[in-house]
Amino acid sequence: MNILDIRNLSIKLLTSTTPILAVDRVSLAMKEGEVRGLVGESGSGKSLLAQAIVGVLDDKWQVDADRFHWRGIDLMRLSVDERKKVISKDVAMIFQEPMACLDPTTTIGAQLEEAVDDEQLTGYFWQRKQQRKLAAANLLHKVGIKHHEVCTKSYPHQLTEALCQRVMIAMALAKRPILLIADEPTAAMESTNQNQIFRLLASLNQLKNMSILLISHDLENVTHWTNTITVMYSGQFVEAGTTQHIFNKPYHPYTRALVDSSPKANMQIPMKSRLMTLPGSIPILQHLPIGCRLGPRCPKAQKACVQAPKVKNYHGHQVSCHYSLKGSY
């Protein structure tokens, strides 16, 4: 069963003149225990989508969806408070730049204890403080920090970035979430640290059957860790399917270009040869092209591309393009 089922979600930015459609009819479905990658270049609206799922967008943004279900509950019908109750119980989010997200004036231990839910504690009120401490230490053990005494006493600036990210993950785990949304958890990190974080997330997925939505701007980074991938471009849905399909047989010209432009995936091309790439860069919100937003950069664009294409489904591999590359394999 799908725990998260989003169909045709649109996010509008309300301005004084005309509203801007930042995310245009994106669909996303997540099964239980799945690791899904959400890939797109910066400015493609992937963080907005994540924020819309958690429901932390403010009044400037208007969210519409044909279907927006969380484990069978229609979130669009709930009031803000009810929704917050449902989501905060089951969904947790970790952000990029963990150093910036932690409170620099409080110790790690105090911040972790704050995250521990009251419902998990038992006994009389004088026992609670001790229990909270124990829970915080346990959380740190869970994310692979062995010496919790040192860690709880230190401030965020005294820890390395990878450790801070582990603390963030520990905080997210405090509520025992079903879905963890990781918004570029390893941005600006060294490759060894990146791997530690990804391995931790993978083990949490395996041991606790926690679903993970892994957001990244780089396709080649996430391919090793995900089961399925959704690709977005400039706020539009591009392609979704299993990782193998997306990486080996992409149907959309944009995904094809992403795979071709990664030097890691193309080991067979000669050294110092030109890499395949799309001309230009991602359009800014004020000047979005009509129809398929990839149009001006797409090598396969034709007249029909001024109309946004419908999503086609080939055995679970969804693609949104008039001229998909399906026939070329």
Partner: protein, 260 residues
């Protein structure tokens, strides 16, 4: 063939000021030697605190080396003689957004190195700026724009323009490709490779993305804690790493070369 840049026995250690017997020195970079030829790229790979950035700083002359010397075309580069060094060795930084002065137009930004290092008249300088902007794939009209009007990829092109405007021989890319989106990154790689062919540049690429290193560089050097672990031809080294640390780096990135 003589080498363009020759580095011998270069090292750097930082002194901690303590009381008399308590003075310590921390070695950031242990003595190393290498040389680069024109049209070639040397990649430097390593984790944080491995001394990659210290090496870059020593090469551009931002820090004074403790021992060793740097020779360019057989000529010794003195520390402090920036006139000589700025012309020939240039550097591009990781975050192009913060390295461009937001209160200057692109013309003023690019004019500065020309005014300080050459005797060209204003007309000649303007012409050179336009030519350089076209070379990196921007337009001459972009001269009167401010940095905030450009996207991330274009900003990186401007820093590249600033680096090549003095017709240098060596360019140091300190993680210059790490913060870019994949499609912009490959555009930038193509541009850098074209410029290398046109101008005979030598690059020193500091990166931790082994995919780019494989594609881009001829030789590579693995640094760990200020020590050189391995130097060699990129293909050979990646195919057949000798040191445990290099193997770990390659494993970490799930990096596999085709067996042929």
């Amino acid at each position: 063939m003589t080498s363009l840049l020759q580095v011998s026995n270069l090292s750097k250690s930082y002194k901690l000021n303590g009381f008399w017997f308590n003075r310590k020195s921390i070695p950031a970079l242990e003595p190393l030697s290498f040389d680069i030829q024109a049209y070639k790229t040397l990649a430097i790979v390593g984790e944080t605190a491995s001394g990659k950035s210290t090496l870059a700083k020593l090469l551009v002359g931002a820090e004074k080396p403790t021992t060793g010397n740097i020779k360019l075309n057989g000529q010794m580069l003195q520390h402090g003689n920036f006139k000589q060094r700025c012309q020939h060795i240039r550097m591009i930084f990781q975050d192009s957004g913060t390295t461009l002065n937001p209160s200057l137009t692109i013309q003023q930004l690019l004019d500065e190195p020309l005014r300080l290092n050459t005797d060209l008249t204003e007309l000649e300088r303007n012409k050179l700026i336009q030519e350089t902007l076209q070379k990196v794939g921007l337009l001459g009209e972009h001269m009167s724009f401010y940095p905030h009007m450009f996207s991330g990829g274009q900003k990186q092109r401007i820093s590249l323009a600033r680096a090549i405007i003095l017709k240098p021989q060596v360019i140091i890319l300190d993680e210059a490709l790490a913060a870019l989106d994949p499609s912009l990154r490959s555009q930038m790689i193509n541009l850098l490779l074209d410029l290398q062919q046109q101008m005979g540049l030598a690059y020193i690429l500091i990166s931790h993305n082994l995919g780019i290193v494989r594609h881009f560089s001829d030789k590579m050097m693995v640094l760990c804690k200020g020590r050189v672990l391995e130097v060699g031809d990129t293909q050979q080294l990646l195919k057949n790493p000798q040191h445990k640390y290099t193997k770990k780096l390659i494993m970490n990135q799930h990096f596999k070369l085709p067996n042929n």
